[in-house]
Symmetry: C2
Subunit: 190 residues, 2 copies
Amino acid sequence: MKPSENKILAAAHDLFREYGYNGTSMKRVVEASALTTGSVYHFYPGGKVELAAAVIVEAGGAYQKLFEQVLDGCPTVLVGLETLFQQGGVMLASTDYIDPCPIGGIAREVANVEPKLREACDLAFNGWIDSGTRRFIAAGLEATVARDMAMLFITTIEGGFLLARTARDPEPLLAAGRAFCAAFRSQLRR
Amino acid sequence: MKPSENKILAAAHDLFREYGYNGTSMKRVVEASALTTGSVYHFYPGGKVELAAAVIVEAGGAYQKLFEQVLDGCPTVLVGLETLFQQGGVMLASTDYIDPCPIGGIAREVANVEPKLREACDLAFNGWIDSGTRRFIAAGLEATVARDMAMLFITTIEGGFLLARTARDPEPLLAAGRAFCAAFRSQLRR
DNA sequence: ATGTGGTTAGAACGATCATTCTAGTCGTCA
DNA sequence: TGACGACTAGAATGATCGTTCTAACCACAT
Protein backbone atom coordinates (compact mmCIF):
# COMPACT_ATOMS: atom_id res chain seq x y z
CA MET A 1 0.00 0.00 0.00
CA LYS A 2 1.32 3.41 -1.02
CA PRO A 3 2.10 5.89 1.79
CA SER A 4 -0.50 8.36 0.54
CA GLU A 5 -3.18 5.69 0.40
CA ASN A 6 -2.29 4.72 3.95
CA LYS A 7 -2.55 8.31 5.17
CA ILE A 8 -6.00 8.65 3.61
CA LEU A 9 -7.16 5.39 5.14
CA ALA A 10 -5.87 6.32 8.60
CA ALA A 11 -7.42 9.78 8.46
CA ALA A 12 -10.78 8.41 7.34
CA HIS A 13 -10.65 5.73 10.03
CA ASP A 14 -10.14 8.29 12.78
CA LEU A 15 -12.74 10.70 11.44
CA PHE A 16 -15.42 8.03 11.01
CA ARG A 17 -14.81 6.93 14.60
CA GLU A 18 -15.19 10.44 15.95
CA TYR A 19 -17.87 11.96 13.71
CA GLY A 20 -19.57 9.00 12.05
CA TYR A 21 -20.10 8.41 8.34
CA ASN A 22 -22.43 11.26 7.44
CA GLY A 23 -20.68 13.54 9.92
CA THR A 24 -17.37 13.16 8.11
CA SER A 25 -16.89 15.23 4.97
CA MET A 26 -14.43 14.43 2.23
CA LYS A 27 -12.95 17.87 2.78
CA ARG A 28 -12.00 16.88 6.32
CA VAL A 29 -10.52 13.62 5.13
CA VAL A 30 -8.45 15.61 2.64
CA GLU A 31 -7.26 18.00 5.33
CA ALA A 32 -6.57 15.30 7.93
CA SER A 33 -4.53 13.26 5.49
CA ALA A 34 -2.53 16.36 4.49
CA LEU A 35 -3.19 15.64 0.82
CA THR A 36 -5.56 17.02 -1.78
CA THR A 37 -8.92 16.17 -3.28
CA GLY A 38 -7.20 14.88 -6.39
CA SER A 39 -5.14 12.35 -4.46
CA VAL A 40 -8.05 11.04 -2.44
CA TYR A 41 -10.16 10.47 -5.54
CA HIS A 42 -7.16 9.01 -7.32
CA PHE A 43 -6.86 6.23 -4.74
CA TYR A 44 -10.59 5.91 -4.12
CA PRO A 45 -12.34 6.66 -7.43
CA GLY A 46 -15.53 5.30 -5.90
CA GLY A 47 -15.54 8.26 -3.53
CA LYS A 48 -16.80 8.20 0.01
CA VAL A 49 -18.49 4.81 -0.19
CA GLU A 50 -15.38 3.06 -1.48
CA LEU A 51 -13.26 4.81 1.14
CA ALA A 52 -15.59 3.72 3.93
CA ALA A 53 -15.62 0.16 2.60
CA ALA A 54 -11.82 0.10 2.75
CA VAL A 55 -11.89 1.42 6.32
CA ILE A 56 -14.37 -1.30 7.32
CA VAL A 57 -12.25 -4.09 5.82
CA GLU A 58 -9.10 -2.80 7.49
CA ALA A 59 -10.71 -2.22 10.89
CA GLY A 60 -12.54 -5.54 10.77
CA GLY A 61 -9.31 -7.42 10.27
CA ALA A 62 -7.45 -5.39 12.87
CA TYR A 63 -10.03 -6.05 15.57
CA GLN A 64 -10.19 -9.75 14.83
CA LYS A 65 -6.40 -9.88 15.10
CA LEU A 66 -6.49 -8.00 18.39
CA PHE A 67 -9.10 -10.42 19.75
CA GLU A 68 -7.01 -13.44 18.79
CA GLN A 69 -3.80 -11.95 20.15
CA VAL A 70 -5.24 -11.06 23.54
CA LEU A 71 -6.71 -14.55 23.92
CA ASP A 72 -3.38 -16.08 22.89
CA GLY A 73 -1.62 -14.02 25.54
CA CYS A 74 -3.89 -15.12 28.38
CA PRO A 75 -3.83 -18.40 30.35
CA THR A 76 -7.50 -19.13 29.70
CA VAL A 77 -10.19 -17.84 27.36
CA LEU A 78 -12.12 -16.55 30.35
CA VAL A 79 -9.18 -14.45 31.52
CA GLY A 80 -8.78 -13.23 27.96
CA LEU A 81 -12.38 -12.06 27.83
CA GLU A 82 -12.06 -10.27 31.16
CA THR A 83 -8.90 -8.62 29.86
CA LEU A 84 -10.65 -7.44 26.71
CA PHE A 85 -13.40 -5.71 28.67
CA GLN A 86 -10.83 -4.15 31.00
CA GLN A 87 -8.70 -2.89 28.12
CA GLY A 88 -11.77 -1.55 26.35
CA GLY A 89 -12.72 0.49 29.39
CA VAL A 90 -9.22 1.89 29.75
CA MET A 91 -9.08 2.79 26.07
CA LEU A 92 -12.41 4.60 26.19
CA ALA A 93 -11.42 6.70 29.19
CA SER A 94 -8.02 7.56 27.70
CA THR A 95 -9.42 8.67 24.32
CA ASP A 96 -12.17 10.98 25.58
CA TYR A 97 -14.75 8.28 24.82
CA ILE A 98 -14.31 8.35 21.08
CA ASP A 99 -15.85 5.31 19.43
CA PRO A 100 -13.07 2.69 19.40
CA CYS A 101 -14.41 1.07 16.23
CA PRO A 102 -15.90 2.67 13.11
CA ILE A 103 -17.73 -0.44 11.90
CA GLY A 104 -20.74 -0.52 14.21
CA GLY A 105 -21.32 3.18 13.74
CA ILE A 106 -21.20 3.04 9.97
CA ALA A 107 -23.41 -0.07 9.97
CA ARG A 108 -25.98 1.66 12.10
CA GLU A 109 -26.00 4.83 10.01
CA VAL A 110 -26.21 3.42 6.52
CA ALA A 111 -27.42 -0.19 6.84
CA ASN A 112 -30.65 0.77 5.10
CA VAL A 113 -29.13 3.17 2.58
CA GLU A 114 -25.81 1.84 1.28
CA PRO A 115 -25.95 -1.89 0.52
CA LYS A 116 -22.22 -1.99 -0.27
CA LEU A 117 -21.33 -0.76 3.19
CA ARG A 118 -23.89 -2.94 4.92
CA GLU A 119 -22.34 -5.97 3.24
CA ALA A 120 -18.83 -4.92 4.19
CA CYS A 121 -19.88 -4.53 7.82
CA ASP A 122 -21.69 -7.87 7.71
CA LEU A 123 -18.51 -9.53 6.46
CA ALA A 124 -16.48 -8.01 9.29
CA PHE A 125 -19.02 -9.06 11.92
CA ASN A 126 -19.16 -12.61 10.53
CA GLY A 127 -15.39 -12.85 10.80
CA TRP A 128 -15.63 -11.93 14.47
CA ILE A 129 -18.49 -14.35 15.07
CA ASP A 130 -16.62 -17.24 13.47
CA SER A 131 -13.44 -16.39 15.34
CA GLY A 132 -15.28 -16.19 18.67
CA THR A 133 -17.21 -19.39 18.00
CA ARG A 134 -14.00 -21.31 17.30
CA ARG A 135 -12.35 -19.99 20.44
CA PHE A 136 -15.33 -20.74 22.64
CA ILE A 137 -15.59 -24.29 21.29
CA ALA A 138 -11.89 -24.75 21.97
CA ALA A 139 -12.51 -23.53 25.51
CA GLY A 140 -15.00 -26.33 26.04
CA LEU A 141 -18.43 -24.95 25.05
CA GLU A 142 -20.84 -27.00 23.00
CA ALA A 143 -20.98 -25.83 19.39
CA THR A 144 -24.41 -24.18 19.30
CA VAL A 145 -23.90 -22.60 22.70
CA ALA A 146 -20.52 -21.33 21.58
CA ARG A 147 -22.06 -19.55 18.61
CA ASP A 148 -24.77 -17.96 20.74
CA MET A 149 -22.15 -16.82 23.22
CA ALA A 150 -20.02 -15.38 20.42
CA MET A 151 -23.00 -13.33 19.28
CA LEU A 152 -23.63 -12.25 22.85
CA PHE A 153 -19.99 -11.27 23.21
CA ILE A 154 -20.12 -8.97 20.19
CA THR A 155 -23.40 -7.40 21.24
CA THR A 156 -21.94 -6.87 24.70
CA ILE A 157 -18.85 -5.16 23.32
CA GLU A 158 -20.76 -3.02 20.81
CA GLY A 159 -23.53 -2.16 23.25
CA GLY A 160 -21.07 -1.65 26.08
CA PHE A 161 -19.05 0.85 24.05
CA LEU A 162 -22.28 2.66 23.22
CA LEU A 163 -23.48 2.90 26.83
CA ALA A 164 -20.04 3.84 28.15
CA ARG A 165 -19.55 6.57 25.56
CA THR A 166 -23.01 7.94 26.26
CA ALA A 167 -22.37 7.96 30.01
CA ARG A 168 -18.76 9.10 29.58
CA ASP A 169 -17.93 6.37 32.10
CA PRO A 170 -16.44 2.92 31.45
CA GLU A 171 -18.71 1.37 34.10
CA PRO A 172 -21.56 0.22 31.81
CA LEU A 173 -19.06 -1.64 29.64
CA LEU A 174 -17.41 -3.19 32.69
CA ALA A 175 -20.76 -4.13 34.24
CA ALA A 176 -21.96 -5.79 31.05
CA GLY A 177 -18.55 -7.46 30.81
CA ARG A 178 -18.87 -8.84 34.34
CA ALA A 179 -22.31 -10.25 33.56
CA PHE A 180 -21.06 -11.74 30.30
CA CYS A 181 -18.05 -13.37 31.94
CA ALA A 182 -20.28 -14.80 34.68
CA ALA A 183 -22.46 -16.31 31.97
CA PHE A 184 -19.41 -17.71 30.22
CA ARG A 185 -18.14 -19.24 33.47
CA SER A 186 -21.53 -20.76 34.10
CA GLN A 187 -21.54 -22.37 30.64
CA LEU A 188 -18.04 -23.76 31.20
CA ARG A 189 -19.20 -25.59 34.32
CA ARG A 190 -21.74 -27.68 32.45
CA MET B 1 -49.29 18.49 22.65
CA LYS B 2 -50.59 20.23 19.54
CA PRO B 3 -51.33 18.06 16.49
CA SER B 4 -48.69 19.79 14.37
CA GLU B 5 -46.06 19.34 17.01
CA ASN B 6 -46.97 15.67 17.18
CA LYS B 7 -46.68 15.28 13.41
CA ILE B 8 -43.23 16.84 13.45
CA LEU B 9 -42.09 14.62 16.30
CA ALA B 10 -43.41 11.47 14.63
CA ALA B 11 -41.82 12.36 11.30
CA ALA B 12 -38.47 13.12 12.91
CA HIS B 13 -38.66 9.92 14.95
CA ASP B 14 -39.16 7.80 11.84
CA LEU B 15 -36.52 9.60 9.79
CA PHE B 16 -33.87 9.41 12.52
CA ARG B 17 -34.53 5.69 12.79
CA GLU B 18 -34.12 5.13 9.08
CA TYR B 19 -31.40 7.60 8.11
CA GLY B 20 -29.71 8.55 11.37
CA TYR B 21 -29.18 12.04 12.76
CA ASN B 22 -26.80 13.52 10.21
CA GLY B 23 -28.53 11.62 7.44
CA THR B 24 -31.83 13.34 8.17
CA SER B 25 -32.28 16.86 6.83
CA MET B 26 -34.72 19.38 8.20
CA LYS B 27 -36.16 19.63 4.71
CA ARG B 28 -37.16 15.97 4.87
CA VAL B 29 -38.66 16.43 8.32
CA VAL B 30 -40.70 19.30 6.90
CA GLU B 31 -41.88 17.21 3.97
CA ALA B 32 -42.62 14.09 6.01
CA SER B 33 -44.65 16.05 8.54
CA ALA B 34 -46.62 17.72 5.71
CA LEU B 35 -45.93 21.14 7.24
CA THR B 36 -43.50 23.93 6.48
CA THR B 37 -40.15 25.18 7.68
CA GLY B 38 -41.85 27.93 9.61
CA SER B 39 -43.96 25.52 11.60
CA VAL B 40 -41.07 23.24 12.48
CA TYR B 41 -38.96 26.13 13.74
CA HIS B 42 -41.97 27.57 15.51
CA PHE B 43 -42.30 24.44 17.67
CA TYR B 44 -38.57 23.74 17.89
CA PRO B 45 -36.80 27.11 17.88
CA GLY B 46 -33.61 25.31 18.89
CA GLY B 47 -33.61 23.64 15.50
CA LYS B 48 -32.39 20.15 14.78
CA VAL B 49 -30.73 19.60 18.15
CA GLU B 50 -33.85 20.50 20.11
CA LEU B 51 -35.98 18.36 17.82
CA ALA B 52 -33.67 15.37 18.28
CA ALA B 53 -33.68 15.89 22.04
CA ALA B 54 -37.49 15.78 22.03
CA VAL B 55 -37.43 12.58 19.97
CA ILE B 56 -35.02 10.99 22.43
CA VAL B 57 -37.15 11.86 25.46
CA GLU B 58 -40.30 10.57 23.81
CA ALA B 59 -38.72 7.35 22.51
CA GLY B 60 -36.93 6.71 25.79
CA GLY B 61 -40.20 6.85 27.71
CA ALA B 62 -42.05 4.78 25.12
CA TYR B 63 -39.52 1.97 25.21
CA GLN B 64 -39.40 1.88 28.98
CA LYS B 65 -43.19 1.67 29.01
CA LEU B 66 -43.12 -1.14 26.45
CA PHE B 67 -40.57 -3.04 28.54
CA GLU B 68 -42.69 -2.74 31.67
CA GLN B 69 -45.90 -3.69 29.87
CA VAL B 70 -44.49 -6.82 28.28
CA LEU B 71 -43.07 -7.98 31.60
CA ASP B 72 -46.40 -7.25 33.29
CA GLY B 73 -48.16 -9.34 30.68
CA CYS B 74 -45.96 -12.40 31.16
CA PRO B 75 -46.09 -15.04 33.91
CA THR B 76 -42.42 -14.62 34.82
CA VAL B 77 -39.67 -12.10 34.11
CA LEU B 78 -37.76 -14.76 32.20
CA VAL B 79 -40.68 -15.40 29.86
CA GLY B 80 -41.02 -11.65 29.45
CA LEU B 81 -37.40 -11.33 28.37
CA GLU B 82 -37.74 -14.17 25.90
CA THR B 83 -40.86 -12.49 24.54
CA LEU B 84 -39.05 -9.19 24.09
CA PHE B 85 -36.29 -10.76 22.01
CA GLN B 86 -38.87 -12.65 19.95
CA GLN B 87 -40.94 -9.53 19.34
CA GLY B 88 -37.84 -7.56 18.45
CA GLY B 89 -36.90 -10.09 15.81
CA VAL B 90 -40.37 -10.07 14.31
CA MET B 91 -40.46 -6.29 14.25
CA LEU B 92 -37.10 -6.07 12.48
CA ALA B 93 -38.09 -8.51 9.77
CA SER B 94 -41.45 -6.83 9.23
CA THR B 95 -40.01 -3.31 8.90
CA ASP B 96 -37.25 -4.09 6.39
CA TYR B 97 -34.69 -3.96 9.22
CA ILE B 98 -35.09 -0.30 9.98
CA ASP B 99 -33.58 0.62 13.32
CA PRO B 100 -36.38 0.12 15.84
CA CYS B 101 -35.04 2.81 18.14
CA PRO B 102 -33.50 6.19 17.30
CA ILE B 103 -31.69 6.66 20.61
CA GLY B 104 -28.70 4.36 20.21
CA GLY B 105 -28.06 5.63 16.72
CA ILE B 106 -28.15 9.28 17.68
CA ALA B 107 -25.99 8.56 20.72
CA ARG B 108 -23.41 6.83 18.59
CA GLU B 109 -23.32 9.56 15.98
CA VAL B 110 -23.10 12.64 18.11
CA ALA B 111 -21.93 11.54 21.57
CA ASN B 112 -18.67 13.41 21.05
CA VAL B 113 -20.14 16.40 19.25
CA GLU B 114 -23.48 17.42 20.80
CA PRO B 115 -23.37 17.34 24.61
CA LYS B 116 -27.09 18.14 24.84
CA LEU B 117 -28.00 15.05 22.87
CA ARG B 118 -25.49 12.85 24.65
CA GLU B 119 -27.06 13.84 27.96
CA ALA B 120 -30.58 13.19 26.68
CA CYS B 121 -29.55 9.72 25.53
CA ASP B 122 -27.79 9.08 28.83
CA LEU B 123 -30.97 9.96 30.69
CA ALA B 124 -33.02 7.58 28.56
CA PHE B 125 -30.53 4.74 29.04
CA ASN B 126 -30.42 5.32 32.79
CA GLY B 127 -34.20 5.06 32.94
CA TRP B 128 -34.00 1.68 31.24
CA ILE B 129 -31.17 0.54 33.49
CA ASP B 130 -33.08 1.48 36.64
CA SER B 131 -36.25 -0.11 35.37
CA GLY B 132 -34.46 -3.33 34.48
CA THR B 133 -32.58 -3.42 37.76
CA ARG B 134 -35.80 -3.10 39.74
CA ARG B 135 -37.49 -5.85 37.75
CA PHE B 136 -34.54 -8.20 38.03
CA ILE B 137 -34.32 -7.67 41.78
CA ALA B 138 -38.04 -8.39 42.05
CA ALA B 139 -37.43 -11.58 40.10
CA GLY B 140 -34.99 -12.75 42.72
CA LEU B 141 -31.55 -11.53 41.63
CA GLU B 142 -29.13 -10.04 44.12
CA ALA B 143 -28.93 -6.23 43.77
CA THR B 144 -25.47 -5.84 42.23
CA VAL B 145 -25.99 -8.82 39.92
CA ALA B 146 -29.35 -7.39 38.89
CA ARG B 147 -27.73 -4.13 37.82
CA ASP B 148 -25.02 -5.89 35.84
CA MET B 149 -27.66 -8.02 34.16
CA ALA B 150 -29.74 -4.94 33.34
CA MET B 151 -26.71 -3.42 31.63
CA LEU B 152 -26.10 -6.68 29.79
CA PHE B 153 -29.73 -6.75 28.71
CA ILE B 154 -29.53 -3.31 27.14
CA THR B 155 -26.23 -4.03 25.40
CA THR B 156 -27.73 -7.27 24.11
CA ILE B 157 -30.77 -5.50 22.71
CA GLU B 158 -28.79 -2.62 21.19
CA GLY B 159 -26.04 -4.84 19.86
CA GLY B 160 -28.52 -7.46 18.70
CA PHE B 161 -30.48 -4.90 16.70
CA LEU B 162 -27.23 -3.74 15.15
CA LEU B 163 -26.07 -7.23 14.12
CA ALA B 164 -29.51 -8.26 12.88
CA ARG B 165 -29.92 -5.14 10.79
CA THR B 166 -26.45 -5.57 9.32
CA ALA B 167 -27.13 -9.19 8.47
CA ARG B 168 -30.74 -8.49 7.42
CA ASP B 169 -31.63 -11.52 9.53
CA PRO B 170 -33.17 -11.62 13.02
CA GLU B 171 -30.96 -14.58 13.97
CA PRO B 172 -28.09 -12.63 15.63
CA LEU B 173 -30.60 -10.89 17.89
CA LEU B 174 -32.30 -14.18 18.71
CA ALA B 175 -28.98 -15.94 19.33
CA ALA B 176 -27.77 -13.21 21.66
CA GLY B 177 -31.19 -13.30 23.31
CA ARG B 178 -30.95 -17.05 23.88
CA ALA B 179 -27.53 -16.66 25.47
CA PHE B 180 -28.76 -13.78 27.63
CA CYS B 181 -31.81 -15.70 28.83
CA ALA B 182 -29.64 -18.71 29.63
CA ALA B 183 -27.45 -16.45 31.73
CA PHE B 184 -30.50 -15.00 33.45
CA ARG B 185 -31.84 -18.49 34.21
CA SER B 186 -28.49 -19.48 35.61
CA GLN B 187 -28.45 -16.46 37.92
CA LEU B 188 -31.97 -17.24 39.12
CA ARG B 189 -30.89 -20.70 40.25
CA ARG B 190 -28.39 -19.38 42.75
C1' DA C 1 15.76 15.58 -24.43
C1' DT C 2 11.45 13.86 -24.68
C1' DG C 3 7.70 11.40 -23.52
C1' DT C 4 4.94 8.59 -20.11
C1' DG C 5 2.14 7.08 -16.19
C1' DG C 6 1.31 7.71 -11.55
C1' DT C 7 0.35 11.29 -8.42
C1' DT C 8 -0.68 15.92 -6.70
C1' DA C 9 -2.94 20.40 -6.86
C1' DG C 10 -6.96 22.99 -6.13
C1' DA C 11 -10.56 25.60 -8.60
C1' DA C 12 -15.23 24.91 -9.95
C1' DC C 13 -19.96 22.71 -10.11
C1' DG C 14 -24.60 21.99 -8.85
C1' DA C 15 -26.98 20.20 -5.01
C1' DT C 16 -28.25 20.36 -0.49
C1' DC C 17 -27.46 21.77 4.31
C1' DA C 18 -29.57 24.29 8.76
C1' DT C 19 -31.40 28.36 9.64
C1' DT C 20 -33.56 33.09 9.26
C1' DC C 21 -36.86 36.17 7.81
C1' DT C 22 -41.02 38.58 6.29
C1' DA C 23 -45.62 38.08 5.10
C1' DG C 24 -49.83 36.09 5.61
C1' DT C 25 -53.69 33.13 7.67
C1' DC C 26 -56.50 31.56 11.28
C1' DG C 27 -59.27 31.14 15.50
C1' DT C 28 -60.57 33.50 19.59
C1' DC C 29 -61.87 36.81 22.71
C1' DA C 30 -62.97 41.63 23.48
C1' DT D 1 -65.86 44.45 14.26
C1' DG D 2 -61.17 44.69 15.50
C1' DA D 3 -57.13 43.16 17.40
C1' DC D 4 -53.97 39.91 19.03
C1' DG D 5 -51.25 35.78 19.46
C1' DA D 6 -50.51 31.32 17.55
C1' DC D 7 -49.41 29.18 13.63
C1' DT D 8 -48.37 28.56 8.55
C1' DA D 9 -46.02 29.63 4.33
C1' DG D 10 -42.03 29.48 1.63
C1' DA D 11 -38.40 32.42 -0.38
C1' DA D 12 -33.76 33.64 0.66
C1' DT D 13 -29.09 33.14 2.79
C1' DG D 14 -24.53 31.70 3.21
C1' DA D 15 -22.16 27.60 4.19
C1' DT D 16 -20.87 23.13 3.05
C1' DC D 17 -21.72 18.81 0.68
C1' DG D 18 -19.57 15.01 -2.72
C1' DT D 19 -17.68 14.98 -6.95
C1' DT D 20 -15.49 16.39 -11.36
C1' DC D 21 -12.17 18.50 -13.99
C1' DT D 22 -7.92 20.44 -16.04
C1' DA D 23 -3.32 21.46 -15.29
C1' DA D 24 0.89 20.61 -13.34
C1' DC D 25 4.42 17.87 -11.25
C1' DC D 26 7.88 14.25 -10.94
C1' DA D 27 10.59 9.93 -11.27
C1' DC D 28 12.10 7.25 -14.71
C1' DA D 29 12.51 5.06 -19.39
C1' DT D 30 13.99 5.78 -23.94
